[in-house]
Symmetry: D3
Subunit: 146 residues, 6 copies
């Protein structure tokens, strides 16, 4: 094994939110055809599980890639405080013109984390690798940072 090898750490978070799937670019009939009961006017909701993966060299003094306390603080401020216990359509600016599908929700989360991580001193030499969003026990979505 090489000296000072790379390790990946992943941390799991949970939040709850509601949404309605409805696209302004589609007719009422098309919306129903594409989204089915997810198009219900008053919305429905999910418990979302988010996994954030960070990669870096293991610090020889601390034995860590990044301190989980720091990662928790970033995810709380950028993701949980913003999305938890919200109606994605009505409470959030970012979904004013964007359908809050899990794909779009994931990309919003990944973007918020990326902008913060670049200026986060606690990030050290680590970098964001992946964000994974689980919508139900049967579906999950991943964004892999380039």
């Amino acid at each position: 094994m090489a000296n000072n090898p790379l390790a990946h750490l992943t941390r799991r978070y949970e939040f709850s939110a509601s949404h309605r799937l409805h696209s302004n670019q589609l007719s009422e009939d098309e919306n129903w055809e594409v989204y089915g009961k997810c198009n219900n006017p008053y919305g429905h909701g999910h418990n979302y599980y988010l996994e954030v993966t960070v990669a870096g060299r293991v610090d020889s003094a601390t034995g860590m890639v990044v301190n989980l306390v720091d990662l928790d603080r970033v995810v709380k401020e950028e993701v949980l405080d913003y999305f938890d216990h919200k109606n994605l359509n009505l409470d959030l600016e970012c979904f004013r013109d964007l359908v809050p599908t899990s794909e779009n929700l994931l990309l919003e989360i990944a973007d918020r984390l990326e902008k913060r991580w670049d200026r986060e001193t606690a990030a050290g030499s680590s970098r964001l690798v992946k964000a994974k969003l689980q919508e139900t026990g049967k579906n999950f979505f991943e964004y892999r940072y380039p």
Copy 2:
């Protein structure tokens, strides 16, 4: 072991819904104090997992307490069709004057199942024993039929 012993079967279902916790019997301040961010005006949501437990003698011809196809039909018609992909506060008559906490949602579900089971010929000699509702990975609620 006695002849023809009793066995319990439990089946797991999933549905998604949104809700806002807000009581008409409390002031705005009291609502916030009791429900915290669950009082957010536009609501939030969950994936709910429901487990229904039925007990009965094992039929000597079929080897079953009750056919799962029959149980699935009852739960679909009484619970899933009614609650899945709904806003509990705005879509449903039963929560017009009742706060849609998990406790109240569970009791509504248990009541709907009980009324149907009594007149369901496929139930045979089996009886409802328990309904269990999981709100998140950390919380669940049970009603035990008397």
Copy 3:
């Protein structure tokens, strides 16, 4: 809390088996109607999870209700060695005239454990309370010892 209170311990086991649901007491058409694709002539299979619950006073010297090593030995000899990696219909005497539904499989397991536990010196003053058999992630079955 009373002196020397009762505690319950539960241990989880896994085995794999195949079966075909077919009743000699039903016609071909009735078999298909009752069991659907589970009536496929060549059978199908499952990973079964078994949970065995034992209750007893906590031994003041060892701090245990029963030693898990002893419980494991009993379950291995009475259940796993007998049912694991078997075709329930073709390999096992007990299902010659009995449909190997999960209900009947559970009752066979509960019966074998009960007969052994009564003469097992390592059982001490503990007693069998429950056997629970999980067939898939959505179904499980319980037998509660009287």
Copy 4:
């Protein structure tokens, strides 16, 4: 369904601790025979999952049996602050003369919760029903309050 029926709520918590299984009432040889590698002098550890179950009538104003915020506070103060990230043998008074098996750890937890719940005003009319301690993915232990 009766008016104002009883509902059970269960909440899941997690903590990590280390222990060594060794009884002062047994010889060195007996300790090794009873506990095997759990008798390793320097100890080992577990992630413990605790589930606390409370039963009560659903409050007509709030729709709750008990507020989870209150339950969380009690469990934090009585259990998590006391046992989390501890060496059960060396850090805790209660295991000075008691083997820290999962059975004994569960009974200590159940006792601490019971003493507190009786004088906890937020408990309202609810009562403790069950404490369940999971030691690994294969073992769990339950105490049922009388």
Copy 5:
């Protein structure tokens, strides 16, 4: 984040089947040595979990990579209808001369999905990335499309 980034979606499916591990290229003794109790003549079975991963650009009108309704239809027709509740050795042409290990079962599934996806109009610009087959809670197998 780049405009119109790539996202991965994964969907989980379940089916049950039985099999016997036996190779025509090995002697009886070699079969027993290689497969152990999985070589039992009458077979055994599993609940298999399949996860299919698809990658693509998020459609700006629908907010989706691919509609899950379309993915479900493809997997149902190509995998579930073919393998669910079957005896892999006796019911299926593809395992006439091929040992139905999880590796070979996975490759059959991956191949069937690939042939269909290429001519599936609902696939849009998305492509198959991975197929993952879980045999038990302890084993899983992956094929990564090139």
Copy 6:
């Protein structure tokens, strides 16, 4: 699909250990600041889950990438026998001067597996791809072999 494609297999293992996070390169105050309650002098513990991933061509005679019996033997001898039911700080040579964080524990495991795999005849043409170590339900760590 290409002839004789590559498949990945992953197998899950479990062990229990205790540790104290304390770095000789940091002052007492710095240790407390970096590790918090994980710096408790007497330590705490975890159930660790290890997933080992191996990739290779599927053998045409056996239908396997590698026999799980062989993989189990290697992981038992190199990892489980060495780390299970141990105090990582006090029992193990490798953590004399290295903080036993999950990152460092993972790298030790990955290194031990790599050295053995290279000289393991049962490995055939397969190679180690990934080692993944789960510390709690919320954290996991991965090493990807180059």
